[in-house]
Amino acid sequence: MSFFKRMTRSKKKSAQSAKERLQLVLTHDRTDMTPAQLDALKDELIEVISRHIDIDPDAVNIDIAREGREQRLIADIPLKANARRRGR
């Protein structure tokens, strides 16, 4: 771990840690989905979409967002520049 990272981590207030940890835990409690299951979902989505259109798997961002007590699955999937022309 870099010196800078160590510095900022030790300075983080415990209330902030509690809040960040709770945000994750509550998301998983509410959706009944573990981070591993979310990763599996992401891999499968990438595979399906890649069959139709060119995407960069590393640029795909799939996450669960909180909106009040609602949870939503947000997928941000940038297309490769020439994907449209090359379409299969």
């Binding site: 207030k13 415990s14 209330a15 902030q16 509690a18 809040k19 709770l22 509550l26 409690d29 007590r69």
Partner: protein
């Protein structure tokens, strides 16, 4: 047009019984007729917190099983006109009462009083189900503490799934100094995480334990900060628009949380 209110939390030891006793006192001191019902069968506690333990003859199971009339089980609190307690049974377990028994009891109590306040046991099993069954409104009580907030979220989810409506939040045992030093979740943080309406913030206050020692609910001590907080919650239950307490110096944390009150 009486109202049945249940306080629940998931986690134990967060202050439900303290809150029920003090809201009973606060509503009764506003001229309301109130009965506090101890729903924690087998772990009776509301009686000692209210200081009425020596006056118990009948309990909630006696009522449900027809061994006494409803009014015989309603212990009158002599400190205030119109305040009563129905104690839990100590030697029975939660299965002695069903959610439909509680609905029937609640409907009978509506004829007797303006407010029925039900103290729920910890957990999400039978005792909790019994306590929420007759409720018109549920208040979830929690502490600014990681496990208590997580359990509160779980309970809120169950209440929504059971179509009990979205509950309101009482945040108890807030230590303003620790919040200021960012060593405790702030009311803002907890509201952001749980995303429900706030009905009260109660500070950490040593007088709560002293009040419990004496069997004189903290709301009887209007000088205490916690007591004031419970009086404010009672006023909000009655529909008054009471600003959230300013526990800190001007302009700090407590004025910021008042913006959440506007969401009600």
């Amino acid at each position: 047009m009486s109202e049945i209110i249940t306080i629940t939390s998931g986690k134990g030891g967060v202050g439900k019984t303290t809150a029920i006793a003090s809201l009973g006192i606060a509503l009764a001191s506003r001229g309301q007729k109130v009965v506090c019902v101890d729903g924690d069968i087998g772990l009776r506690n509301l009686d000692v917190i209210m200081g009425l333990e020596n006056r118990i003859v009948y309990d909630i199971v006696d009522v449900v099983e027809g061994r006494c009339r409803l009014r015989q089980a309603m212990i009158r609190d002599k400190r205030l006109p119109g305040l009563f307690l129905i104690p839990a049974a100590q030697t029975r377990d939660k299965m002695a009462v069903s959610p439909s028994d509680m609905m029937r009891l609640g409907d009978e109590l509506r004829h007797e009083v303006d407010w029925v306040l039900i103290d729920s046991p910890a957990g999400i099993e039978r005792g909790f189900k019994n306590a929420i069954a007759p409720a018109d409104r549920v208040l979830v009580l929690t502490n600014p503490e990681i496990s208590a907030v997580r359990d509160a979220d779980r309970v809120i989810g169950i209440l929504e799934a059971e179509e009990k409506g979205t509950p309101s939040l009482i945040l108890n045992r807030v230590n303003p100094g620790m919040v200021k030093r960012q060593e405790m979740l702030s009311p803002d943080d907890v509201l952001d995480l749980l995303a429900i309406d706030l009905i009260g913030v109660v500070p950490e206050d040593q007088s709560v334990l002293i009040a419990a020692n004496r069997g004189a609910p903290i709301a009887l001590d209007k000088e205490s900060r916690a007591g004031q907080a419970f009086h404010n919650i009672a006023a909000r239950l009655m529909g008054e628009d009471i600003p959230f307490m300013d526990l800190e110096e001007k302009g700090g944390l407590w004025s910021r949380i008042s913006k959440f009150a506007g969401r009600n």
